[in-house]
Symmetry: C2
Subunit: 275 residues, 2 copies
């Protein structure tokens, strides 16, 4: 069993990104309307990585119920010529979905693929940023040398931020793709088909050894808060390790790569805007 180390891959991406950022002085705007500790943790990782790479981070803090403020802030940032990329962190105020917020992000600054237009362009095979988490999964699989063309890929979770865009990315890689979710009958019988299994359900340790085909590659997108153990994934890593050929740890797997992909996207935007 190989532990698929996200930190090493993330560092390699950051190094390339830093080289490109130097001449561009890119600016990433983060809109935050939550006090959720997991979001703070993620934002903290972005802050740290942005500083290391040479990207300026501008935080806009809004009240947890201030849907109007989120929308007007996203519109102002979209129009601001100083801003290269915009990320809108979740959870959002209850009256606002991420898709609705994403519609207010200018397409050329949508570094986390939050807008329906980015998602649709991705689905249509046109150039677009995928949500950074979904893209990070693909980067990890490439880095691990996993053959995706013709592989059976199973994604557990059908969210707009991970499950659905990831299914589209895996299809573009020529995998046969199945998407499972809470309504799937006999989850284990479906996930055991997978050569590549991606857990993006948001439920701590949902997947155990019985869900995993021997010799498969398991990517764990989950970041669930456990009162005793801190952050735990959607996969019971200890149970799955003896079965899988490779698995990403949590933390240290998909997370750091996500942050690096996000920052790389900011530099891509800055380069496009610099002409």
């Amino acid at each position: 069993m190989t532990l698929l180390d996200g930190r090493a891959l993330a560092a390699a991406i950051r190094e390339r990104t830093a080289g490109e950022a130097a001449a561009l002085a890119p600016v990433l705007a983060a809109v935050v309307a939550t006090e959720d500790p997991a979001t703070e943790w993620y934002l903290g990782s972005i802050v740290k990585a942005a500083a290391a790479v040479g990207i300026e981070l501008q935080e806009s803090r809004l009240g947890v119920d201030d849907a109007g403020g989120v929308i007007s802030t996203l519109e102002a940032l979209s129009a601001d010529p100083e801003i290269d990329g915009i990320i809108c962190l979740t959870p959002l105020p209850p009256s606002l979905t991420l898709a609705e917020a994403g519609e207010r992000i200018a397409p050329g600054k949508d570094v986390d693929g939050s807008s329906p237009l980015s998602l649709g362009r991705l689905a249509a095979g046109l150039p677009a940023f995928a949500p950074a988490t979904a893209q990070a999964v693909i980067e990890l699989l490439h880095h691990a040398g996993t053959e995706l063309a013709g592989a059976e890929a199973v994604v557990v979770g059908r969210s707009t931020v991970v499950g659905k865009p990831l299914a589209l990315l895996l299809l573009a890689e020529h995998a046969t793709v199945t998407v499972c979710h809470t309504r799937t009958r006999d989850l284990a019988s479906v996930t055991r088909r997978a050569d590549v299994l991606v857990a993006a359900a948001g439920r701590a340790r949902l997947l155990g050894a019985e869900h995993v085909r021997p010799g498969s590659i398991v990517i764990d997108v989950g970041t669930n808060e456990d009162p005793d153990e801190g952050m735990v994934g959607d996969v019971d890593t200890d149970a799955v390790e003896p079965v899988a050929a490779g698995i990403t740890p949590v933390p240290g797997g998909v997370g750091p790569v996500t942050t690096s992909v996000l920052l790389r996207n900011v530099v891509t935007c800055a380069r496009a805007r610099a002409g």
Copy 2:
């Protein structure tokens, strides 16, 4: 085995649509830059059904290489206050993809869900028209009383016009969804898992009895020209009939429902524009 009759369902949809169209005098614009006989056949069915329903159809004919003409026509129709809905027929001039053309269709007139924005909104769970063919498959399944929640649905084909949007629609119906394609290893072993099997590969009689699980529902989206037999589907219907619980014929299955869904969408647009 039940033959799932698209013509009866299409007539029922048209009857409701005609009742609503009467007060609105809706106008559908069709942009055609091909001499493909299958396209002419489809356009003919739209012309006939539009007349029956009370929708005016305006055809814009362009040369088979006139990509610029297609784009400027779509832009003019999008801006024209007399036009309620726009459909851009395929095949398009070789230098133009449907997604690129679809980007020129105003979102409020995109009755065939051709624009990346419509596709992204569909994926994000926001209101949008799905491509009429994909929507027609769902309508046929509902009409047949097929339980989709928790069902295993397998879609053969990953096109932007049918396979991918249909996968999204089936996910929204709470099916466990697998998308297969030319790179799928051992297609029959995957399709045999299906409670609901949708053939949208565009290859005449790709699927035979060995691809079908006994008792399943088979929807055949294919419309392939056979030199001897005229239009044939992606499914070898004679071979599959003894195995499946239900199957759509070609012609007379998905096709007429697609046309009816398209016209219903035009009336929906006209109603929205009438306020």
